[in-house]
């Protein structure tokens, strides 16, 4: 079956093998009015890798993620997803193509419990119609329980059993970040975009989160693109790093290569003009 015919059911099963190009961004430019957020950027993300996007504040990292999951539409350039040039799409279409993300400032559904928040990630995979939903019986109940089982696996995986029934608004920040990761994982994405997964965390929480990210990558084979400011984390986790500055790409390559790149050092430390 062609993966593009039924994107909902096929998320995470594109048939690509590790190391093939999952997503390619070609010469993408994005501007808001007169402000150029992204200028002529090209890079690719390979199936199964951890790809870091770094750069000083305002470099266009989050804009780049927003372009990838369809929230912004670049004025120029193309995005190739699973080998096909992607047309202009809405975020919910990107979601059904297997792209999930977390947010820089936690974007959980505050009025819902941890369990419900993670269950929202299963929404695209649930298809029992409105009238079965009203009855909450038979097929609808079976579907609900089947997805609950999957959600419980993720809860176990991320070790958040104790807060299952807690409204997420009451949770401490570190746990909220973890629930947000759980919610994204519930979508069983092929590409997981993490926008500063460790922002505002203490060392211990960062270590936990790093372990989870590596586990997700290795156990589920999920491709991960992450934005992060903690260089230690970036260098340890990622297979390849792309560096942005003022909306342009200034370096791209393995962590150790990027670390010694003079442009990167200049961008972070500043150079006298």
């Amino acid at each position: 079956m062609n993966a593009f015919v039924d994107p909902v059911g096929m998320a995470g099963h594109s048939g690509l093998t590790k190391g093939e190009v999952l997503l390619r961004v070609d010469n993408v430019s994005l501007s808001f009015g007169g402000v150029k957020a992204i200028t002529n950027i090209s890079f690719d993300i390979l199936k199964g890798e951890v790809r870091a996007i770094i750069g000083p504040n305002g470099a266009g990292k989050t804009s780049m993620l927003n372009v990838i999951n369809g929230f912004y539409h670049p004025q120029e350039g193309t995005i190739t997803w699973r080998g096909q040039v992607r047309r202009k799409m809405r975020p919910y279409e990107a979601a059904s193509h297997g792209i999930a993300r977390t947010f820089q400032n936690v974007a959980l559904f505050k009025g819902m419990t941890t369990l419900d928040n993670i269950m929202t990630g299963r929404g695209l995979k649930m298809n029992k119609n409105f009238f079965w939903q009203c009855l909450h019986w038979g097929p609808a109940l079976n579907e609900e329980i089947e997805h609950r089982r999957k959600v419980e696996e993720i809860i176990d995986f991320l070790e958040i059993q104790a807060i299952r029934k807690t409204p997420v608004g009451r949770l401490p920040y570190g746990l909220q970040k973890r629930v947000e990761l759980a919610r994204a994982l519930a979508m069983e994405p092929e590409l997981l975009l993490l926008d500063e997964p460790m922002a505002g965390m203490n060392l211990e929480e960062k270590e936990d989160m790093s372990r989870f990210i590596l586990d997700v990558n290795q156990q589920f084979g999920t491709t991960i693109a992450l934005i992060e400011h903690d260089m230690g984390v970036v260098m340890d986790l990622s297979d390849r790093v792309v560096v942005l500055d003022y909306g342009r790409k200034i370096a791209d390559g393995p962590p150790e290569e990027v670390q010694s790149n003079q442009d990167v050092i200049d961008a972070y430390l500043g150079v006298p003009h």
Partner: protein, 358 residues
């Protein structure tokens, strides 16, 4: 002490996901239902017709508004008008197809309200919050204008009002002036209980989660595959359907006859206050809110003279209004999230009582 879930182990997800997972709650709801069923034995005609029936109908309307405002986060001031659409379409259906069961008509009339709701919900795709409330206000005034200016809707009655004809179900008269309070009460109770259950099911499933996703964080919702168009319009449709059914019942089982002024902005506000006082995003809160706003003034009006306080009827009415106003302010200061939150906090405390923590 007595309200505690200790020892009640859940061995399946189905058991864990039921509406009332705690046994004491199940007993409580059963007791309430039995009392509701036996009420006509003890209650006077006045209690049934003037308190119980409108309370149930308004609670259903509040649930309708709660779906839209409490669960899907779309503020609406058009509730009264959507109830009116239900009432007028039910009246037309009953007069055009007199042989069809009136309960079928009442349930069908909600679909007309749902259609109106979807049309006036279209701006919600672009407009949020208070601005959306203003556009629903347009629905309120436009539809009210229709009820007055389109004589076809009230069958060209010279009075401009709709009068409910008598209709029987299983040989019992349930609508019209001659119907007994008991018969009307049971019909209303049945419809309200069944619809509340169906809506609860909807809310705890995928559809309800989509509404809450849109309410809590619409951008994240869209990035997780929720189509805002479908989620918002389905909330408008379901909400208006419920309001429409409530509006039809309001006229057919409570008022008996109505003019356009019944479905004015006053009714919209009344239902909105019920939703806010009861607690947005809570079904039990809808019942609390309706009870607070509908039953309390009547109790005050009846209760003050009964206590021997000898005052003029007009004074009692005004005192009741003032007391209600003060209580609304008091409860909103104590708990801005409404009576439902107070109820939830009370239950949480009771679970660990007499200890201060679990």
């Amino acid at each position: 002490m007595f309200y505690r879930e200790a020892g009640q182990y859940k061995t399946s997800y189905a058991a864990d996901q039921q509406i009332f997972p705690i046994r004491q709650d199940r007993i409580g709801i059963a007791v309430i239902l039995v009392i509701a069923l036996l009420l006509p034995l003890a209650a006077s005609e006045f209690m049934l017709s003037a308190i119980a029936i409108p309370f149930l109908v308004l609670a259903l309307a509040t649930i309708g508004l709660n779906i839209l405002t409490g669960y899907a986060g779309q503020l609406s001031l058009g509730t009264g008008a959507f109830m009116g659409v239900g009432a007028y379409s039910c009246y037309k259906l009953v007069t055009i197809f007199p042989e069809v069961n009136v309960i079928v008509h009442i349930l069908l009339s909600g679909t007309f309200a749902a259609a109106a709701g979807v049309v006036f919900g279209l701006p919600s795709l672009r407009i949020k919050g208070l601005y959306l409330a203003v556009t629903t206000l347009a629905a309120q005034f436009f539809l009210e204008w229709c009820f007055i200016r389109i004589p076809w809707l009230y069958n060209y009655n010279s009075s401009g009002a709709i009068e409910v004809p008598g209709r029987e179900v299983f040989g019992t008269l349930i609508t019209g002036p001659a119907a007994s309070g008991t018969a009307r009460y049971y019909v209303v109770l049945a419809i309200v209980v069944v619809m509340t259950l169906l809506i609860k099911n909807l809310i705890r499933g995928r559809v309800g989660r989509q509404w809450m996703m849109i309410r809590d964080m619409d951008i994240a919702a869209e990035l997780m595959g929720v189509r805002p168009l479908i989620a918002k319009l389905s909330a408008f449709a379901v909400s208006s359907y419920v309001c429409g059914v409530a509006g039809a019942m309001f006229v057919f089982f409570y008022l008996g006859a109505s003019e356009p002024a019944v479905f004015s902005i006053t009714l919209s506000f009344q239902v909105l206050f019920m939703a806010i006082i009861g607690g947005l995003g809570s079904l039990v809160g809808s019942f609390f809110g309706a009870a607070f706003i509908w039953i309390l003034p009547i109790l005050l009006r009846v209760g003050l003279p009964a206590l021997g306080v000898d005052v003029a009827a007009e004074t009692v009415f005004q005192v009741a209004q003032m007391v209600i106003g003060a209580l609304i302010i008091f409860f909103l200061i104590v708990e801005p999230h409404g009576l439902a939150r107070l109820w939830a906090i009370g239950k949480e405390k009771l679970r660990v009582w007499p200890f201060p923590y679990a």
